[in-house]
């Protein structure tokens, strides 16, 4: 079980460009968290600090009881797996199965566990039927699932997904939904960076909003998407359902299709339809 902690973390690139200012955040083990915000707000930089790809210039990052400054990226990434935004930055094998196997094998797991994890991850990501294909013959959306499987197979306690819904169709979204449930069942922490507000409200209750290199809100989704000040500062838009609820003059706090439908059905019932 691994808790993640950022304490007053700032990060600047070697040329002095500031990327993050004074981030404080705790993610308890086994919880889900979505990070949202505009392009350039610092989301990807923030998660790269969590798995040790970057080290803070100020402040401390703790992965469990490890202070990331004292450990190598290779060590930290055993606890915190990061799925890159661009699958092509990650894939380097010419066969899907070999790609997924690489992580657990490299970590020195015994062959049985490697096979078990590889099969589990490929099944969960819906790529078992293409296990012998070259990843580069697969569409972008499927390559993304290849990279997710590669990280899942490493069995880390924390999994970070960077833009998992980019380019996904309904089938891909349904797969992600199943995957999140399975990971929750296994007690894994999942942190997702996303621009897809429907995905956020359907699957995440705790939301961190970033804007201009800072965390400007950390709250449950009902508080975030009905708070004009936050939406304005972060230049985010509420999900379509919130817009519809607002247009219909319904009460605040409705975010998912399920919530909207149940409110509408109740109203219809009361009007004797």
């Amino acid at each position: 079980m691994t808790e993640l902690q950022l304490k007053n973390v700032s990060f600047a690139y070697p040329d002095g460009t500031k990327a993050l200012e004074n981030l404080t955040l705790t993610v308890p083990a086994g919880k889900r968290l979505a990070i949202i915000g505009q392009n350039g707000a610092g989301k990807t930089t923030a998660v790269k600090l969590m798995n040790g790809l970057l080290k803070p210039t100020e402040g401390e990052v703790y992965v469990g009881d490890w202070h990331t400054k004292d450990y190598t990226t290779a060590q930290v990434s055993r606890k915190v797996g990061y799925v890159f935004q661009n699958p092509d930055d990650q894939i380097f094998h010419n066969n899907v199965e070999l790609e997924v196997q690489f992580g657990p094998k490299n970590m020195g797991f015994d062959p049985e566990r490697v096979t078990m994890l590889t099969d589990w991850a490929m099944e969960l990501c819906g790529i078992r039927n293409v296990s012998h294909e070259n990843p580069y013959n697969l569409p972008y959306s499927v390559r993304k699932f290849v990279t997710i499987a590669s990280v899942l197979a490493m069995d880390s306690d924390v999994i970070i997904l960077d833009e998992p819904t980019a380019g996904q169709d309904r089938i891909g979204l349904e797969l992600l939904s199943k995957l999140l449930d399975e990971l929750e069942g296994k007690g894994k922490t999942v942190i997702a960076i996303t621009h897809d507000m429907e995905f956020v409200t359907d699957y995440f209750s705790r939301i961190v909003v970033m804007a201009n290199r800072k965390i400007i809100a950390d709250d449950v989704s009902e508080q975030i998407f009905y708070n004009h000040a936050i939406l304005e500062e972060s230049m985010l838009k509420p999900p379509a359902v919130a817009k519809m609820a607002n247009l219909l003059g319904l009460e605040k706090g409705i975010l998912t299709k399920g919530q909207l439908l149940s409110v509408l059905k109740k109203r219809d019932f009361m009007r004797g339809r």
Binding site: N39, D89, A240, L248
Partner: protein, 288 residues
Amino acid sequence: MNSIIEMKNVSYRYPVSEDWNIKNASFTIEKGKFTAIIGNNGSGKTTLCNIIRGFIPHFYKGDLEGDVIVDEKKIVEYQLGQLGEKIGYVFQNPFIQVSGVKDTVFDEVAFGLENLGVEENEIIDRVNEILKLIKIEHLREKHPMGLSGGQRQRVALASIIVMNPDILVIDEPTSQLDPIGTEHVFDIIRLMKEQGKTIILVEHKMDLIAEYADNLIVLNNGEIVLQGPVREVFADPRYGEYNIQYPHVTEVALNLQRNGVQLKYVPIRDEELSESISWSGVGEGAYD
């Protein structure tokens, strides 16, 4: 009707493919219209784009049957370079479109015009204008490889629009963009349409398609299963059979319909929901 792209019974398969990747596709795209190609991943959207822009058969081999006509001339009679001037193509993945041979965003956007042999002062003017239009002036001196996904996606769009092609084929231009950036890209596409360009777009974000596009082509397993004006296609009961996303509001309304609510019509935009379900409001004046 002034058609600019026409396909008649087009089938295609890639060189090593056993099955046909596109099966007997026929459609006409009118000049100046905005057509969206939708369908689940693997249904043939990008392949269809590759046929429209002549990469099939000029670059990819394989078997192509039927006729593809662009601006009254068969596509096989064009040279690939001629098509490149007529049809601009924005890649699905902005990480591979950036040329890799230019050190600044300004030079990257100028690259296409340089290759067309445009005179230097004109290049500078046109690039400046486009950087402003796409709102990436602040990136002009940055290295293209150092940009974020969303920034690259905008640079990729700019470097095609600057060449001023008659037809724009755009493959998922907003997959890496935040909501405001996405809307901004759609506003640019709308502007292109107002300038008389023909737009062909591949996209999964149905709310935006409902808002901006004129016509839809729906692909399923390489076959065109539905086509027509956006509103008619989303309202067609057969659309539901293909497990493709609906606009969010359409999904909500159809669910209500299944639960016995009468729909005046099938809404495709958020603001149509209230009227389409004859919503009488909760309290007086709860909404406009």
